[in-house]
Structure formats: structure tokens, C-alpha cells
Assembly symmetry: C2
Homo-oligomer: 122 residues x 2
DNA sequence: TGTTCATATGAATAATTGTTCATATGTTAT
DNA sequence: ATAACATATGAACAATTATTCATATGAACA
């Protein structure tokens, strides 16, 4: 009869690799930080938002201009700008009834570039 | 009676900003490239995958070790490793029945660092 | 004051996705 | 051969999310 594996939640090789796993565990950032990191990248993980960010990296733009540029509804753009705003990736200034959005982060372009580098090499 | 806006799909301000929009449009990368970029970041946009990538940045590990480390099922880890493999972010080598995964990209850490930089400043 | 315009937002819907469960594949050891 | 083990995978389910539609807000202007 076999020893029940789920008693320990560990496979056999973990016993051998325990040291490595412990070392890796030590080097892992806090749970919360990794969660925030994933949340940030999730914001980049949508074509519409990527396009908006790319557009804003060229020039500040108002909501309606972005909608025209991307051939999408004003509402869809506005919803996505809210997500970008919450992630502190864009900021805005009001001029009367027009709201101009712009990038709020120097890292956006660098994150882009690293991503494009990966893509172009694979 | 008002002129129907949807005839042109353009708001009033776009007429004024047309030049800017045209310039931005010129500078936008190809549609496909932006799609791929979003797909790449989507892969980073999940806590489990971020943790796996972080773990592998410390040391190569087998599937079962990762499962123990993250306290998740082997199946869940395996599914996510497939996603990472497809994105060419990890590679693997087989040693008998054990499969060791490792990072397949120098950019992973740099993308991480930029992300963490953004988070820590906001 | 009433109308037009630019933007924001809540609700609904459709599509995507992460995990679990059960099972398949392929390797090692007895 | 058979059993044990490490990993992979398909189907199902629950949860998340992007867009649309209708409408609200608030500014400019006639």
C-alpha cells in the first residue's frame, strides 16, 4: 500500500530540492507587491489600452480625438481611460468641456520598449 | 434641427485637432505589433504567472517544486507554464520524468524592474 | 433659459480566462 | 509486466472584463 501523497502535499523530488525551494522562497518579494505588479501588467494587457498609451506617448489628446483615432466609441475610450487613470499611467487636464489626457509615467515607454524587444526577437 | 454627428463619426474638436491625430496615427506601430504587445503583457498580468517567473528568475525549478512553493496544484502550474512557454518566456529541459523550467528571456527581469519602479513611486 | 457639445458612468451582455477534476502520457523502478 | 511517479491536457465552472447602450453631468453658447 502506498503512502498518501496528499498528507504532505509534496512530491518526492521536493525532498531533494527543498533547499532550492527554500532559497527561492526567501528571494520572493512580498505577496502584495507581486499582486500589484500583476495588476499593473494587466492594464497593459489590452489592445485598446496599449493603443491609447501609444497615442498619448506621441501627443496629449482629448477623449474624442482618441475615439476617432482608434475608430471606437467615446464611451469605450472613456471607460478605458478610467482604468489607465486608476493605474496612474495617465493624467488629465481640463480645458472647458474638453479633457486632455497625457502619459503620467516615464516608465511606460521603457516597459513598451522592453516588450517590443522581446517580441521582435522571438 | 441638428446635423447628425454619426454621419462623420467625428466630434467638433477633431476638426481642430485633425493635424495632431494624423501625426499620431503616422507614429503608431502596426496594428499587429500592438496586438502582440498586449498579448505579451497579458501573460505578465496574472499573479500566478508573475510568481512563477519570479521564482524562475532565482533558479530553475521542476513543476512540482513550483507547485509546492506557490502552494498550488500541479495542474494549475502546468497550465500556466504552457502559457509562459507559448509566450516564449520560459523554456524547459527534461531529466527523466522530471521537467525543469527556466527563464527564456533576458527582458523578463527588466520588464519586472520597470513595473516595480512604477509601483514603488505611486 | 434652453440647446449643443464633451465626457463620465451604471447596467447588461458577450467573451475571455484561471482553476479544478479526471484522466492521459511517458518515465523509472521493482 | 506492473506499480508509482512527474507532468500534460481536455472539459467544466466560476469569475473577470471589454464593449455597448442609455443616460447623467457639466461647460459653452445662442
Amino acid at each position: 500500500m502506498m503512502e498518501n501523497k496528499s498528507d504532505t502535499d509534496r512530491c518526492d523530488c521536493i525532498v531533494i530540492h527543498q533547499e532550492i525551494v527554500d532559497k527561492v522562497k526567501e528571494n520572493m518579494p512580498q505577496e502584495e507587491k507581486l499582486y500589484d505588479l500583476a495588476e499593473l501588467f494587466k492594464v497593459f494587457g489590452d489592445t485598446t489600452r496599449i493603443k491609447i498609451l501609444y497615442a498619448l506617448s506621441s501627443s496629449d489628446m482629448c477623449v474624442c480625438d482618441i475615439a476617432v483615432l482608434l475608430n471606437m466609441t467615446q464611451s469605450a475610450i472613456s471607460h478605458q481611460l478610467r482604468v489607465l487613470k486608476q493605474a496612474k499611467l495617465v493624467k488629465y487636464r481640463k480645458e472647458g468641456k474638453i479633457v486632455f489626457y497625457s502619459l503620467d509615467d516615464e516608465h511606460v515607454k521603457m516597459i513598451f520598449d522592453q516588450g517590443l524587444l522581446h517580441i521582435s526577437e522571438k
